[in-house]
């Protein structure tokens, strides 16, 4: 189910606002209360993905007719519902149901219907390539490990490039322990796409993400001026190296290097855009973690036991970045679609189970409800 559980209670608490929980496309109007908020709705896109689907029996709201207005929260009263933790925010919640994620089925296109006249088998991880692109997959060898990648731009990137390109960060791709092994089931690990088979990688290190958004904590004005001059001169001249090289290359190489050069130009533009976010507190490192050591912070962020803390840090950073106006478009992946994580930190979680999340989803494990509710809270 392509349902984003955007509505984390923490998120709201961090903002000091009562409710803003529309799980698909949302207008975070109240985020701008401290600025000169114009009367019209602010347009923001935050897509949060959680892995392995959920138990539909606990997701589904059994409402119809006038009861489909769930704003008083009654419909979420059942403590077994995935959305129960959001009961207090029901007035701002819109639940989308009966969507069919056909592409996530095990075989979603056969030779008879596929544009390339070949079968597209493979597992449900393939749905990731279609989720925001609305396309079938292309490339790959039509098998499980190498099913190909999405064959179009994703909706977040349409918004980033067509509507919000003037933002310092037209979009952010954020992840919590998204598997970095791309040699197997690459499609499973990406949700955002620039173009066909050109996915965007999520940043999974909260310390690195913070530094790229708000700068490295500390530093004098002189340091900052030098950095600005360096970035401008270096990236402009590196871009010119690409341009100078182009006539010496074959057609295939020209195309390949042009994509690289375009990214250099975008980075240069991004770095030269100044947005003052005031004082933003960096994530608090656990004792013993050297936040100046990027290898260490990356490893820490990818260690399974730190999953909830990394997720909380990322949530805070996203809130700050949107509140300051650094970006209006965020895709936020909690792990990847077949992540087989355990969730021992959830109260009541059956830690004797030997199954990870993915195996649970196949086995309809009762722990799933707790996991989904944890994501919803």
């Amino acid at each position: 189910m392509p349902i984003s559980n955007f509505n984390r209670r923490r998120f709201l608490q961090g903002l000091g606002i009562s409710a803003a929980t529309i799980p698909f496309v949302i207008g975070l109007d109240s985020l701008y209360a401290k600025a000169d908020a114009p009367p019209d709705m602010k347009k923001r896109f935050l897509f949060m993905y959680t892995p392995n689907g959920g138990l539909y029996s606990h997701f589904r709201l059994r409402v119809h007719g006038p009861a489909m207005d769930i704003s008083d929260g009654t419909a979420l009263a059942d403590p077994n519902l995935v959305y129960h933790p959001l009961q207090a925010n029901a007035a701002n919640l819109m639940v989308l149901d009966r969507l069919s994620w056909v592409s996530a089925r095990q075989e979603y296109q056969t030779a008879a219907t596929a544009p390339d006249k070949t079968n597209h088998p493979g597992g449900h991880q393939k749905g990731m390539g279609s989720l925001l692109t609305g396309t079938t997959l292309q490339g790959g060898t039509n098998d499980f490990g190498n099913a190909g990648l999405g064959s179009g731009i994703s909706v977040d990137q349409v918004l980033a490039t067509k509507v919000f390109s003037s933002k310092k960060f037209p979009s952010l791709e954020v992840g919590v322990q998204v598997d970095e092994n791309l040699t197997d089931r690459y499609v499973d690990k990406r949700v955002s796409y620039d173009a066909p088979i050109k996915p965007r990688a999520p940043n999974c290190d909260p310390f690195a993400l913070f530094a790229s958004l708000f700068g490295t904590p500390g530093g004098t004005n002189n340091d900052k001026a030098l950095r600005t001059l360096l970035d401008g001169s270096v990236l402009d001249n590196a871009y010119k190296d690409f341009a100078r090289l182009q006539p010496k290359l074959s057609g295939a190489d020209q195309k390949l290097l042009q994509q690289h050069a375009d990214s250099v130009r975008r980075l240069e533009n991004q770095l030269s855009t100044v947005v003052d976010c005031g004082t933003v507190m960096p994530p608090t490192a656990q004792a013993g973690l050297d936040t100046s050591n990027a290898t260490a912070t990356h490893k820490w962020a990818m260690t399974p036991a730190n999953f909830p803390l990394v997720g909380a840090m990322m949530t805070d950073i996203i809130v700050e970045a949107m509140a300051c106006g650094l970006t209006n478009v965020v895709t936020f992946m909690w792990a990847n679609s077949e992540a087989n994580l355990g969730y021992p930190w959830i109260p009541g979680f059956d830690t004797t189970s030997t199954r990870g999340h993915h195996d649970m989803s196949h086995a309809r494990d009762p722990n799933l409800v707790l996991i989904d509710q944890w994501y919803a809270s």
Binding site: D143, F144, G145, A225, L230, V234, A261, R266, P304, D359
Partner: protein, 566 residues
């Protein structure tokens, strides 16, 4: 690596491992991007959108088209050799081709990571100061001259060929813009950041050969210097290579072989070949954590120790002047510290430093049961016989298995009073599964004697006795005959290792094949087969001396030529 976690094959045509999936459409000829069966790394087609055009056209020349970007290991090694600076900031993950990492299309995240890494490098003022060929007085008197000298010294090294006028002017422009406001050192900082983000540094360019137009072109000079250095050192050419390139003495096969021989005794060769064997043996993603029994003892430090122990053991085996691969498969020397000793079943080791020890050869020999491999091919708290079996077939035997198809039910778990082995036997018993699993299972079950981190045991994860008596079937010799020596009854992973070592028609040939894929960045084609057979013969005749094998590799048509785009 391949993670075939929980899926089994129902490939109705059997499991020959020599054919791809029916209907595979991965490029104009499919060779380079690999069909499922032949490409254990998943193929280059998914590699960041490189498409199917990376394959060779015909014959056995390397086609470097489109040009490859440095892999992350090559990038880190190159920066270290260029500046004496260790890059630790994370880079965008590599894509893969032919089962090995590859640098394909760069996107925003790639470029952002390079930018961060360049900043890390340029902040190492002390290291950079040493590289400026001027004393302080000269810097004060004529800073621009010194900057020019610095660019002339470091630029050609970074770009692995002479600077053309425009490129030199660009680097000097970066210096001038920054130094005008912030002084000489800041200008040098700018030049370094520029060098590290320039395509001349980041790509394997063969400009001189590419300029010669379509078809087969002999590679020499600067491009050959880079081919040699990235093959043997996984890093950039040194001064001597560049001097030979400039002098035109990197052209004949003798000249190339002599350079290779020099490079192989340089310490950088160990670093370079480590980049090969860590990928070949699939230990690039050793898990950072385990659950259950090892939830607390297995931490980041232990993961790092396991990696170091693995490297030490492989180095000691493969670089030995004789019996390299045999020692790798069957040697009894391991490298352990106090925290690894219990896993290896060794007592009396103290301290954090790794020490060479002799292991109990009844329980473990060689590298296959090393914790680096066992912990990788396992679940978070248990063994995984299927993944272990597939690993051996794909990487050690080179008779790769196709990926599991769609519509495979999930493994339901181990029922009460059943061993892990029995549960998998039942689960994979349908005929549709047996095409592949009759090969996978026996080999995988041999490793049931090793738990989720590779410690020896006699009861499995559900406390049932381990039964590691199996019959290995369906292995072929390298010429395709069905009488491979590794077939037949076996009782332990030790026995498997000994038999693999004895059957060099499989083990030698497979290692050579993997090295060839690594060097050419593609799956071999028929024409390559002849070359690989010859190389495997060279390795055997040289008593498994790795330096002779690499030397031979530099004499192959694939290494000596390139095929330009038609």
């Amino acid at each position: 690596m391949k993670s075939r976690y929980l899926w089994i094959s129902v490939f109705a045509l059997g499991c020959t491992g020599t054919i791809g999936w029916p209907g595979g459409s991965d490029g104009p000829n499919g060779a380079g991007s690999g069909s499922g069966a032949n490409n254990p790394g998943g193929g280059s087609t998914t590699g960041n959108g490189g498409g199917g055009s990376n394959g060779p056209v015909t014959g056995s020349e390397v086609m470097v088209e489109p040009s490859w970007r440095l892999t992350n290991a090559e990038y880190v090694n190159s920066v270290k050799d260029l500046l004496g600076v260790e890059i630790t900031s994370p880079l965008d993950p590599d894509a893969s081709a032919a089962g090995f990492s590859a640098g394909l299309v760069a996107g925003d995240s790639t470029v952002a990571a390079y930018h961060t890494a360049a900043m890390q490098a340029s902040a190492q003022t002390a290291a950079l100061t040493k590289l400026v060929p001027c004393d302080q007085a000269a810097i004060t008197a004529t800073p621009a001259d010194c900057a020019g000298k610095f660019i002339d010294a470091i630029g050609p090294k970074a770009f692995r060929r002479p600077l053309d006028a425009g490129t030199r002017a660009g680097l000097l422009d970066t210096y001038t813009k920054v130094s005008t406001k912030f002084g000489f050192n800041a200008g040098i900082q700018g030049v370094v950041e520029h060098l590290l983000q320039s395509p001349y540094f980041l790509y394997h360019l063969e400009l001189e050969e590419q300029a010669k137009g379509p078809g087969k072109v002999a590679v020499s000079g600067y491009s050959m210097a880079s081919r040699l250095s990235y093959l043997i050192w996984a890093s950039m050419p040194d001064d001597q290579l560049l001097q030979k390139a400039a002098a035109g003495t990197l052209s004949t096969t003798d000249q190339i072989q002599a350079e290779a021989a020099r490079m192989l005794v340089d310490p950088r060769a160990k670093v370079g070949l480590r980049n090969f064997y860590e990928q070949w043996l699939r230990v690039t993603d050793i898990p950072l954590a385990k659950t259950g029994k090892y939830a607390t003892s297995y931490d980041n430090q232990m993961q790092a120790d396991i990696k170091a122990s693995f490297d030490a053991q492989v180095d000691a085996a493969l670089w030995s002047p004789t019996n390299g691969l045999t020692t790798l498969l069957t040697g009894t020397q391991a490298f352990v510290n106090a925290s690894l000793a219990p896993i290896f079943g060794v007592t009396g080791v103290t301290g954090t430093a790794l020490q060479p020890v002799t292991v109990n050869a009844q329980q473990r020999v060689g590298i296959l049961a090393h914790p680096a491999i066992m912990a990788t091919f396992a679940t978070a708290n248990g063994s995984h016989p299927i993944r272990r079996g597939v690993f051996v077939w794909d990487q050690i035997v080179c008779q790769a298995l196709p990926d599991p198809p769609a519509n495979v039910p999930a493994f339901p778990g181990v029922p009460a009073n059943s061993s892990v082995r029995q549960a998998f036997e039942t689960f994979t018993s349908p005929n549709t599964c047996q095409g592949c699993h009759r090969r996978i299972n026996p080999v995988g079950f041999l490793f049931e004697n090793y738990d989720t981190v590779g410690a020896y045991r006699t009861t499995d994860d559900v406390n049932q006795p381990v039964n590691s008596s199996v019959t290995i079937v369906d292995a072929l010799t390298s010429s395709g005959d069905p009488d491979a020596q590794i077939n037949g009854p076996a009782n332990s992973a030790v026995e498997l290792a000994n038999r693999l070592a004895a059957d060099t028609s499989i083990s030698n040939h497979c290692m050579v094949t993997q090295l060839y894929r690594y060097a050419t960045r593609r799956i071999e084609n028929d024409a390559d087969g002849v070359t690989i057979d010859k190389l495997a013969g060279t390795y055997a005749q040289a008593s498994q001396d790795l330096t002779k094998l690499i030397g031979g590799l530099t004499q192959t048509p694939a290494f000596l030529n390139r095929l330009n785009e038609q």
